[in-house]
């Protein structure tokens, strides 16, 4: 087997050599045979958020050197079964490390342990896993979601002057990151005694379309609300469309989570009052970096916080907001090893 591997490596080097000599000039140097193959598995590939995570992962690939990043999500958004199969295929493909955003906090525990058994370290990003950091997986690199929810709750309470009814549209059953945001939000909003929370435990579902329908039905049942909170991009966008449809946009205090072109536009026009934003570029970057550091024998903290902040119409032009929101955010400098 060793001879076979040597032969394969020799072949790879040989091919690499050939490639470099091609006359096109701008050929990217092919990865050396000993470079680290890191697989990055998002929850889906179509949300703006995951595109930013990919940008961060690519940035790490370019900066760290000797690293090849494969970015591959489940074909169907939010399909746990497909993500489980995908991780198992990556284990079979003998990647050096896997950076995973688990769709479910328990369904992915098995595959992560299988990777561990196959000596493939796993770094968890974005959403928690019901397993031990530093043991079942290397590190948990994510936003402090509960803190994000608390920030949103406090802001919304202040915007509503501490009185009135507030509506919560939840995201999806079993999604750990958004459940923590919802928990943090409820905790912070409960401190305002004049505010009643309407939480019928209705879920927005996976797409903006399903979120819009759920929001329209909810608003029909609760027309007298003074404030709304939604825990992610698609639920916030669906709620925004529903509020617009009923002529309530801008009249109801609205705090959302995550950012996209459409949401920032609504923030600018006053239809959304505040957005709680994470730093997905940094999450992708630090996720890959944690995996590479671990493989190269450096110590990696079991929990890495990637930061969370609140952006309002007023703070839109601040440099901090610019870094997180503008399309140029992908080129923004990243802090060293934070």
């Amino acid at each position: 087997v060793r001879y076979l591997m040597l032969a394969v490596m020799g072949l790879a080097l040989g091919l690499g050599g050939c490639e470099e000599k091609t006359p096109t000039g701008n050929v990217v140097p092919p990865p050396a045979a000993n470079s680290l193959r890191i697989a990055v598995v998002p929850k889906g590939t179509t949300h703006d958020f995951w595109k930013s995570v990919e940008a961060g992962a690519r940035k790490a690939e370019a900066e760290l050197g000797g690293v090849v990043v494969t970015y591959r999500g489940p074909e169907k958004e939010d399909d746990r079964e497909q993500q489980v199969s995908l991780v198992q295929n990556l284990i079979a493909g003998k990647y050096d490390a896997i950076v995973l955003a688990p769709l479910d906090d328990t369904a992915l525990v098995g595959p992560v342990r299988q990777a561990g058994a196959a000596k493939i370290p796993v770094v968890i990003i974005d959403s928690g896993l019901e397993a031990k950091a530093g043991e079942d997986y290397v590190s948990f690199v994510a936003t402090d979601n509960e803190e994000g929810g608390r920030l949103a709750g406090k802001k919304l309470g202040e915007l509503m002057d501490g009185k009135g009814k507030v509506l919560l549209l939840r995201y999806q059953e079993g999604s750990a990151s958004t459940a923590l945001r919802e928990k943090g939000f409820l905790e912070a909003i409960a401190k305002f005694e004049g505010i009643t929370v309407v939480d019928p435990k209705r879920y927005a579902g996976p797409t903006r379309g399903t979120a819009q329908e759920a929001a329209e039905n909810l608003l029909s049942a609760n027309g007298d609300i003074a404030g709304v909170f939604c825990p992610n991009e698609s639920s916030t966008f669906g709620m925004l469309l529903a509020l617009r449809g009923r002529g309530m946009a801008g009249k109801v205090k609205f705090v959302g989570f995550d950012a996209s072109e459409g949401l920032v536009e609504a923030l600018r026009s006053g239809q959304i009052d505040a957005l709680t934003v994470q730093n997905p570029v940094r999450m992708g970057y630090l996720g890959v970096k944690a995996a590479v550091d671990h493989l190269r024998g450096k110590t990696v903290e079991p929990r890495v916080d990637t930061g969370v902040g609140l952006i309002t119409r007023e703070s839109l032009s601040s440099p901090e907001a610019k870094e997180l929101l503008s399309p140029e955010m992908l080129k923004a400098p990243l802090p060293e090893g934070s």
């Binding site: 590939t45 797409t207 379309g209 909810l218 029909s220």
Partner: protein, 315 residues
């Protein structure tokens, strides 16, 4: 008389559901706004269900409608973003749906694939094409006047419900007339009832089937255009699983999956019933899982009741 009863049974089922919810929650009857929401939430499933009715009456099935609708919504958004007028975006979406239908039809008649398999394949193909065309993310664009079609409260008060609902009503009448009063309609019903007999009677099987799937695709494209108007973006991941809701609506509406029978009015009633249940479950503050359990059993009950009635009618 019994034929009329059979035809009306989906409406009876709908009325039963309405009465049931009035009994459960007499203090929260559906208001005007609820009716508007239910009507609007019927449009996408209902539009696609018109095409599905035609396909199912002809003895086929189309599992690719959700994917085709998503693809059409991306096409519409791309056209609108590229400076096309809303009318052009609408036409492009419908045309894209038609092309999807043509592809299905050619696979089914040309390669003689079972419709279930052919459209299972194109379900993946169209979804992939939508993601590729949209560069994997939603394409945001202004739907222009099409956005007015899906306003919950229409700009012109006399319309009461969103204009898209009236568009659906118009399309339903046209489809129903097509099924009952045109040669094409009679031919496709004949194929669905007994393909061999239809062949001997000289019905051009292949040509008719291709047109049937094109019709199904055109309606899926229309549903995609409405999806784009609702979301103000073409979303390649939208409408996943739409095909099951659409098939459920058609079946609740009294269609037989073995072909030959099916009604446009029934399919619309089926679509309304599902939107109604979603609205009521939300208003009553029931959690999602209760709604899923209830809707599943309504589908089972509707079809079982229909079977029972038919069997009694035949005896």
């Amino acid at each position: 008389v019994s034929a009329w009863l059979t035809r009306l049974s989906p409406l009876v089922g709908l009325c039963a559901a309405v009465v049931l919810f009035l009994v459960i929650a007499p203090d929260r009857p559906p208001g005007l706004m609820d009716l508007r929401i239910i009507a609007l939430h019927t449009v996408i499933v209902g539009t696609a269900a018109l095409g599905m009715t035609v396909v199912i009456v002809c003895g086929g099935i189309d599992l690719s409608v959700g994917s085709a609708a998503a693809l059409a919504s991306v096409v519409a958004a791309k056209v609108a973003k590229g400076g096309g007028s809303p009318g052009e975006a609408l036409l492009a979406a419908v045309a894209a749906g038609g092309l999807c239908g043509l592809y299905n039809g050619v696979l089914i008649t040309g390669l003689r694939l079972p419709p279930f398999i052919a459209t299972l394949g194109t379900l993946g193909f169209f979804r992939g094409a939508a993601k590729w065309l949209s560069d994997k993310g939603p394409v945001s664009a202004s739907p222009g006047w099409m956005e007015g079609w899906v306003q919950l409260v229409p700009a012109k008060a006399w319309m009461v419900v969103a204009p898209a609902v009236w568009v659906l009503a118009g399309l339903s009448l046209l489809t129903s007339a097509m099924l009952h009063w045109t040669v094409f309609g009679r031919r496709l019903t004949a194929i669905g009832s007994n393909e061999e007999a239809a062949r001997r009677a000289g019905v051009p099987i292949r040509r008719t089937k291709v047109f049937v799937y094109i019709a199904g695709g055109l309606f899926a494209g229309m549903a995609g255009a409405i999806l784009f108007a609702r979301l103000t973006q073409g979303d390649p991941t939208a409408a996943a699983g739409l095909e099951l809701e659409v098939i459920a609506a058609v079946v609740i509406g009294g269609a037989s999956l073995s072909g030959g029978t099916g009604s446009v009015a029934g399919a619309c009633a089926g679509a309304v019933l599902m939107a109604f249940l979603k609205n009521r479950c939300t208003v009553l503050g029931w959690e999602n899982y209760i709604q899923e359990i209830v809707v599943g059993h309504i589908i089972i009950a509707a079809v079982a009741l229909d079977r029972w009635r038919r069997m009694r009618g035949a005896a």
